[in-house]
């Protein structure tokens, strides 16, 4: 019996590892397709030979190295990041409807970005740092705010948590709109954050985001065990020797970091954080470590696909990414809400 359990668990871990690797071959498909279709062999050759100088590079090399590869990389990072933070928020809020978008944390990050841009930070390394820092502060303050509200009232219904999140989301979006209205001449750079897109990406941004995102993701993976107990309630967690306050704070900190980096890369992309962890739970159970791993892989695959559709459906024109994730996400969200109400009734 015990052997079976461990065998099943090993199987799942193996599967999770596979899922974590899947985005790699998938990205090859996305890199080779688009306005110009480049055969696989050619793609591999171009990737292997590295980027030559722009003077001698062919159109294919330029398109791969400067446009598609950064986009696919960013899609992978943002998808993985949003999905794992969704899983983390759902854990600490003990609510399967929580995600960075619904709880208003994304909006907090956007507000931070907006303020940073209005203060004059740009796309230089220093500017990117400023934008990410502000975005991080916005995300952290928002999530602490919501968490404090939930901690303050002893028994809060799911509805109350969601309503709080949604109203904070609207409040912060309102602030962003106000700032945009008051600074109409600088608005151009800000609209992106609120629409969600991977089209304005370059290597500088990705290389800046990569270490921060990796740090956040690693941190969250280390918090997976405490999170498993926290889901059961703080009393039970304490009995099992978990430092409740510290763990909770760390999870919020790492989640805010990941959310803010994602927002500063791609703007607000809704529903990835909600959709992916819930699918994963339905398919592979609720152990946090596994949920995190599966979410990373599936989230990356999902956003890669969404961005691929965004840039090819109306080619040569481009769709905003948020449109596609929402079209796929909203029906699922409604289905989930209906199922929830059915269970509680």
């Amino acid at each position: 019996m015990k052997r079976d359990y461990f065998a099943a668990r090993r199987g799942k871990i193996f599967l999770a590892a596979l899922f974590l690797l899947l985005p790699l071959p998938a990205s090859l498909v996305y890199i080779s397709h688009g306005l110009i279709t480049i055969p696989f062999g050619e793609v591999l050759r171009i990737l292997a030979s590295g980027f030559v100088s722009a003077e001698t590079a062919t159109t294919q090399e330029l398109v791969i190295w400067l446009i598609r590869l950064p986009r696919v990389c960013a899609g992978t990072l943002v998808g993985a990041g949003l999905a794992i933070t969704g899983a983390a928020y759902q854990g600490i809020f003990r609510n399967r409807l929580a995600d960075p978008y619904m709880t208003g944390v994304s909006a907090g990050a956007t507000l931070g970005c907006t303020i940073a841009i209005l203060l004059g930070f740009d796309s230089s390394v220093f500017g990117l740092g400023g934008i990410t820092l502000f975005s991080f502060c916005g995300a952290l303050v928002t999530s602490l705010l919501i968490f404090t509200f939930i901690a303050a009232s002893r028994r809060v219904s799911h509805t109350a948590i969601l309503l709080t999140g949604i109203s904070i989301n609207l409040f912060l979006s309102g602030l962003v709109s106000l700032l945009m209205f008051l600074n109409r001449d600088k608005i151009e750079t800000i609209v992106l954050w609120t629409m969600g897109s991977l089209s304005g990406l370059n290597w500088q941004k990705i290389l800046f985001a990569l270490p921060l995102l990796c740090a956040g993701l690693t941190g969250l993976f280390f918090c997976a065990r405490p999170l498993d107990y926290l889901v059961l309630g703080s009393d039970i967690a304490r009995v099992h020797g978990i430092a409740v306050k510290r763990s909770t704070f760390l999870i919020i900190l790492f989640s805010s970091l990941v959310t803010s980096v994602c927002v500063s890369l791609s703007g607000i992309v809704g529903f990835v954080g909600l959709l992916i962890p819930n699918i994963v739970r339905l398919l592979f159970g609720s152990r946090s470590g596994l949920v995190f791993a599966f979410s990373c892989g599936l989230g990356a695959l999902f956003l890669q696909l969404a961005d691929f559709l965004a840039r090819t459906l109306l080619s040569p024109a481009e769709l905003p990414l948020g449109i596609l994730t929402s079209i796929i996400g909203v029906p699922f969200f409604i289905f989930l809400v209906l199922k929830k109400t059915e269970q509680s009734a």
Partner: protein, 420 residues
């Protein structure tokens, strides 16, 4: 009789509601709003304007609200010319102005004419207090010598400099009706981006509204697009309203001469460069003037081939830009607006700095108001483009030479030569 009237009013209301449904919600294109860097009040109407009602591309308009942004992402971009045509029809059908003004036909009118939407405007006296809800109309009125009649303008009417002294009444899409009323105007003129809601409010207040737009059309490769005649008509019709017909004739004949001169000179060109008109790029999204836009027609008659012609509408992509590798990039740099500094930004932003045109220094800044606003200054824009596309055919004056090839400064290059 009373009963008939009631039925008629109900029918009008229905038609108007239907019209709104058709014009308004079919077109979701946040693009243009973003293209100009200024989010419009509601993205769909912007698109409706541009595809359906107007040609004047991205004039800055309005502001964005949290709600519109959330609805945007649920709407799908649909750019079908047929629907655009429907939108125009619906608009015409639901504008009740024609009937209303027709009913008051007893007194002799000083001026009577039909606007771009088939609405009849009858004025008993020539207007003395005009509110202009479009930058191009403000420019034209000033050029006609009727600038002193303008008592209100939009926030975006920044040309000529005298316009800044007139009190602003808000944005193009959401002007303050209260402010307009307080100015007691006897005529309101509007153009692209003018909203049906504004029209309804103003008609309720019995203030005459004259709307004038240039429609996008696709002249094909044959050249001779109708856009120029429409641009000229705009000026002549507006002149009729303010009793400046003679001035308008002079202005238009000078414009025609200048346009013909450019087209004739350009005909000698051995090679037509492929040109990309860059409304915005990078984080703000890639936007250009696509096939059938009148900006595309301007590029054509300046002796260029518009690379944007492979799309309809305005949304482009970096990948398509790398595929077409245009010979020349025209970068919109309206002074003071979000476009200022675009040229520098373009040269330092990846991947755009790897484009052949950027690497080889064939990026030219152009004040996009010269192209975006349909009006007299379009000819300035045309001449500037022709000079950029065919430097060999247009000998430079020494004072201009230093601005070539890539530091072209619009203000230095556009002397307005058509004062009558």
């Amino acid at each position: 009789m009373n009963h008939l009237m009631k039925t008629f009013i109900t029918l009008c209301a229905r038609a108007s509601w239907l019209g709104k449904r058709i014009c308004g919600s079919k077109f979701a294109c946040p693009s243009l709003a973003r293209a100009r860097g200024i989010a419009a009040e509601s993205p769909q109407d912007l698109h409706g304007q541009i595809r359906g009602l107007g040609a004047e591309s991205p004039v800055r308009a309005g502001r964005s609200t949290a709600r519109t942004r959330h609805t945007d992402r649920k709407k799908v971009h649909a750019g079908i010319p047929l629907l655009a045509a429907l939108a125009v029809l619906a608009f015409t059908a639901c504008a009740p102005g024609a009937e209303k003004t027709g009913a008051e036909s007893a007194a002799p009118a000083a001026v009577e004419l039909t606007d771009s939407f088939g609405r009849t405007i009858r004025l008993k006296n020539y207007p003395e207090r005009i509110v202009s809800l479009a930058p191009n109309m403000t420019e034209t009125l000033f050029l006609l010598g009727a600038g002193n009649l303008i008592v209100g303008r939009t926030d975006y009417c920044d040309y000529p400099l005298e316009a800044a002294k007139i009190p602003p009444v808000g944005s193009i899409t959401t002007p303050s009706i209260e402010h307009i009323v307080s100015l007691a105007p006897d005529l309101i003129v509007g153009s692209t981006h003018f909203q049906k809601e504004t029209l309804a409010a103003l008609e309720n207040l019995r203030i005459p509204v004259y709307l004038s737009i240039v429609r996008n059309d696709d002249a094909g490769d044959a050249g001779d697009s109708n856009n120029y005649e429409e641009i000229f008509d705009t000026i002549i019709m507006l002149a009729k309203l303010v009793n400046k017909t003679e001035e308008a004739e002079k202005i238009v004949s000078v414009m025609r001469q200048r346009k013909d001169a450019v087209e004739q000179t350009v005909r000698k060109a051995a090679h037509k460069p492929r040109v990309y008109y860059m409304i915005s790029f990078g984080e703000a999204g890639d936007y250009t003037a696509g096939r059938g836009t009148y900006i595309s027609a301007l590029i054509k008659s300046a002796g260029g081939l518009n690379t944007g012609d492979d799309i309809e509408g305005w949304k482009y992509s970096a990948e398509a830009l790398f595929r077409s590798q245009p010979d020349i990039i025209l970068c919109g740099t309206s002074s003071g607006g979000p476009g200022a500094g675009n040229l520098e930004k373009l040269r330092s932003t990846a991947p755009y700095n790897r484009l052949r045109a950027v690497q080889e220094g064939r990026v030219y800044g152009i004040d996009n108001n010269l192209l975006d606003r349909t009006g007299p200054r379009n000819i300035d824009g045309l001449e500037m483009m022709a000079k950029i596309f065919h430097p060999d055919l247009f000998p430079l004056e020494p004072s201009q030479a230093e601005f070539f090839p890539s530091e072209l400064s619009p203000s230095e290059l556009s002397p307005s030569e058509f004062s009558p």
